[in-house]
């Protein structure tokens, strides 16, 4: 029976809450409604109102109380309803969630998972399609995971909840309905390991979250042109699996980074820097990026012109190969 990404994450939450009664799930509309994307569907029914509950509509409050609950000994999972609404919680995440374990010399552990549906492509209204991952990846003390498949949605969520470090878990909302025939539970590779989704010989394409499927589609189209793309799903944005990135570039000699987030100081900049440090003499062309533009996220009717797609990736491939 096919399972969607949203169902896989939902199953991971259920299994984690069954396995450990210290695991709590809370946020806006996650209880009775089951979340605006239904990712927490059925949890309150199964585990009661003290383990899956609706909070007042206050994102800083959600993260700040998650910190207090974690200090008490719980393992909170906090949902931010949308990417663009994480900013009220920015201070609690950056100044406390990320720093408190270090400030306390490891005495205080904060095993908090922050779930954030992120990215665009669903025709949403303003503030509902953002890609804020660089903020979190830039912040020492946070791990940042994003699944590109339903299998990873399950396995990486379980890993996040079990992590004693705080994890920002970015759920690619346009892929919530992506299906897999995989039986759950499933354990995939540890999140810190990048995975080669498709082997290739001409160009390495580094992607994550919602762009994994787009990059795989680009690889299909590229094959028609006679180009062989290697698709690497990064999975963890902090830490980055530098060794796998460099190894792939050493195989192909060319690299393209794909993300929805704006290009300027996005993950692509860091990945390009690591590639030139680790595989300088193997590069046949500059590292190129296929990303969103350095503008605010566009209105829904214009997002198809803004978001990287198969054509933008293939254009980058062509430019790389032309070097």
């Amino acid at each position: 029976m096919a399972v969607t990404m949203a169902q896989a994450i939902n199953q991971a939450l259920k299994d984690a809450m069954s396995a450990d009664d210290r695991v709590l799930m809370f946020g806006e509309d996650v209880g009775r409604l089951g979340g605006v994307f239904r990712v927490t569907d059925g949890l309150q029914e199964m585990f009661g109102e003290e383990r899956c509950f609706d909070t007042p509509l206050a994102e800083s409050g959600i993260i700040g109380t998650a910190i207090g609950l974690a200090m008490y000994g719980y393992r909170p999972i906090a949902e931010m309803q949308f990417d663009g609404f994480t900013y009220p919680a920015f201070e609690q995440i950056v100044s406390h969630l990320a720093k408190m374990p270090n400030r306390s010399r490891g005495t205080v552990k904060l095993p908090v998972t922050v779930r954030i549906p992120f990215g665009g492509g669903i025709g949403a209204v303003e503030h509902h399609s953002e890609s804020p991952e660089a903020y979190w990846a830039h912040t020492a003390g946070l791990k940042v995971f994003t699944p590109g498949t339903p299998e990873d949605g399950y396995s990486m969520m379980r890993e996040s909840i079990e992590s004693d470090d705080p994890v920002i878990f970015l759920e690619p909302k346009r892929r919530y309905w992506m299906k897999s025939d995989q039986q759950l539970p499933v354990t995939t590779q540890p999140a810190r390991e990048a995975v080669v989704r498709r082997e290739g010989t001409d160009v390495s394409v580094f992607c994550y979250g919602p762009m994994v499927r787009t990059a795989l589609e680009a690889a299909d189209a590229a094959a028609d042109e006679g180009w062989s793309l290697e698709i690497v799903d990064l999975r963890s944005l902090a830490p980055l699996d530098t060794a796998s990135i460099v190894a792939s570039v050493k195989r192909t000699g060319r690299a393209i980074v794909v993300h929805e987030a704006a290009r300027n100081l996005g993950l692509g900049a860091e990945i390009a820097a690591r590639i030139q440090e680790g595989a300088f003499y193997h590069l046949e062309a500059p590292v190129l990026r296929a990303t969103g533009f350095d503008t605010p996220y566009p209105p829904a009717k214009l997002e198809e012109y803004w978001l990287p797609d198969v054509d933008r990736i293939l254009d980058a491939v062509e430019r790389s190969l032309a070097y």
Partner: protein
């Protein structure tokens, strides 16, 4: 007193399960609770009976004296270049000691950066606390040993941690209360308001203890809020707002004690505004002569919380030269201990910078660990050659 003898918490038929109470009882009384005059005269208040032994009354005074002495020593250490900065709590000893003393040993405190008095009630190593200000590390006490969280510098943010902790205690069925301290300036930040919203809805056993010391650095209370009092804000969140004379250690104790009992009985949070005065600068980097007058300071000195408690003890025949000598000796010993712990205290191994960022740091910064190690070895070699 216009407040009811017991805090309201009547069961109700409301569909959302919330309690039906007369919201007006959540408003603060016209005057802050005040039990002891400046000359030590005690006024009985049936709503706030004293349940302290003679020994405990002396202990409250002792804690305040030790707090002031260590506080002064910290200022001296800063003047001597031993601390980068220090935020004094002079004048706020009664507010801190009285409130912290009302908690049980299993209860938790979530402080800001000015809570030396509350820390000393919890027997937190005062020299350790000052490492934050010296810059040797960011904290130096085990929060779980003292039930005293790390000092929070971003204003008011700790109110949410206390609220979450209290939510956890309630879920866990444990009679644990969390108390958080912030100031009059803190009531303008967003987080305390979100905390009160959560605490009200969740009926968290948490106490929001506001030390209204009249200033947020240089900005006086009148520019901080147009509310009649800070305690009036509480009713908007469904919390009782209470006020007390924050320079009267018995009043801060009694009002907090009542809030603790209310929280422990499952009736939820309380907001307390303690009226006090910051007798020192905001921090050692501040110059208060730019924004307040000598006349104002002289007037504030008349409300000094230590003198008041000493006068009270004297009237009760609980204070004599022998006690004075013993307390002074202890205060000096603690200050000496703090000085010894801080003066020229070395920082730790720079490699520790990487040790606590993650419990599982794999992949995060191995090359940087090696880089710093090499830099340290290089520096060592250079010294060796010199």
């Amino acid at each position: 007193m216009s407040e009811p003898a017991t805090e309201p918490s009547a069961p109700t038929d409301r569909p959302d399960g919330a309690e039906e109470v007369d919201p007006l009882t959540f408003l603060p009384a016209d005057e802050p609770v005040h039990l002891v005059d400046a000359d030590g005269t005690y006024h009985e208040d049936p709503d706030h009976p004293l349940d302290l032994t003679d020994e405990q009354l002396r202990e409250l005074y002792r804690l305040m004296v030790v707090t002031r002495k260590v506080d002064r020593e910290a200022i001296n250490l800063q003047r001597q270049g031993q601390l980068g900065v220090y935020a004094s709590c002079m004048g706020q000893e009664a507010a801190q000691v009285g409130s912290a003393y009302a908690l049980g040993t299993d209860d938790w405190i979530f402080p800001s950066y000015r809570e030396l008095g509350a820390a000393l009630v919890r027997d937190v190593d005062a020299a350790g606390l000052l490492h934050l200000y010296r810059g040797t590390w960011l904290s130096d006490h085990d929060p779980y040993k003292h039930n005293f969280a790390l000092m929070a510098i971003p204003i008011g943010t700790q109110a949410l941690h206390a609220t979450g902790f209290a939510m956890g205690a309630r879920f866990d069925g444990k009679p644990i209360v969390a108390m958080t301290y912030f100031g009059d300036g803190g009531t303008s930040e967003g987080d305390p308001h979100e905390a009160m919203t959560f605490a009200g809805v969740m009926k968290s056993p948490v106490i929001f203890f506001v030390q209204n010391n009249q200033y947020a650095i240089s900005v006086p209370l009148a520019k901080q809020t147009a509310a009649p009092t800070l305690a009036h804000k509480a009713i908007g969140y469904g919390l009782p707002g209470r006020r007390c004379d924050g320079n009267d250690v018995l009043a801060t104790y009694a009002v907090t004690k009542r809030a603790v009992e209310r929280a422990r009985a499952g009736h939820g949070p309380t907001f307390i505004e303690a009226m006090t005065y910051r007798m020192e600068a905001h921090t050692t980097s501040d110059d208060p002569s730019r924004y307040r007058t000598k006349e104002e300071l002289d007037a504030a000195a008349l409300t000094d919380p230590l003198a008041r408690m000493r006068n009270y003890l004297t009237k009760r025949d609980l204070y004599d030269a022998e006690l004075e000598a013993a307390i002074d000796e202890q205060a000096k010993a603690t200050a000496t201990y703090v000085r010894a712990g801080i003066y020229d205290a070395p920082h730790g191994d720079p490699m520790e910078l990487f040790d606590h960022v993650y419990t599982d740091p794999r992949g995060h910064f191995e090359d940087q660990v090696e880089q710093l190690r090499a830099e340290l070895e290089g520096a060592g070699d250079a010294e060796g050659q010199g």
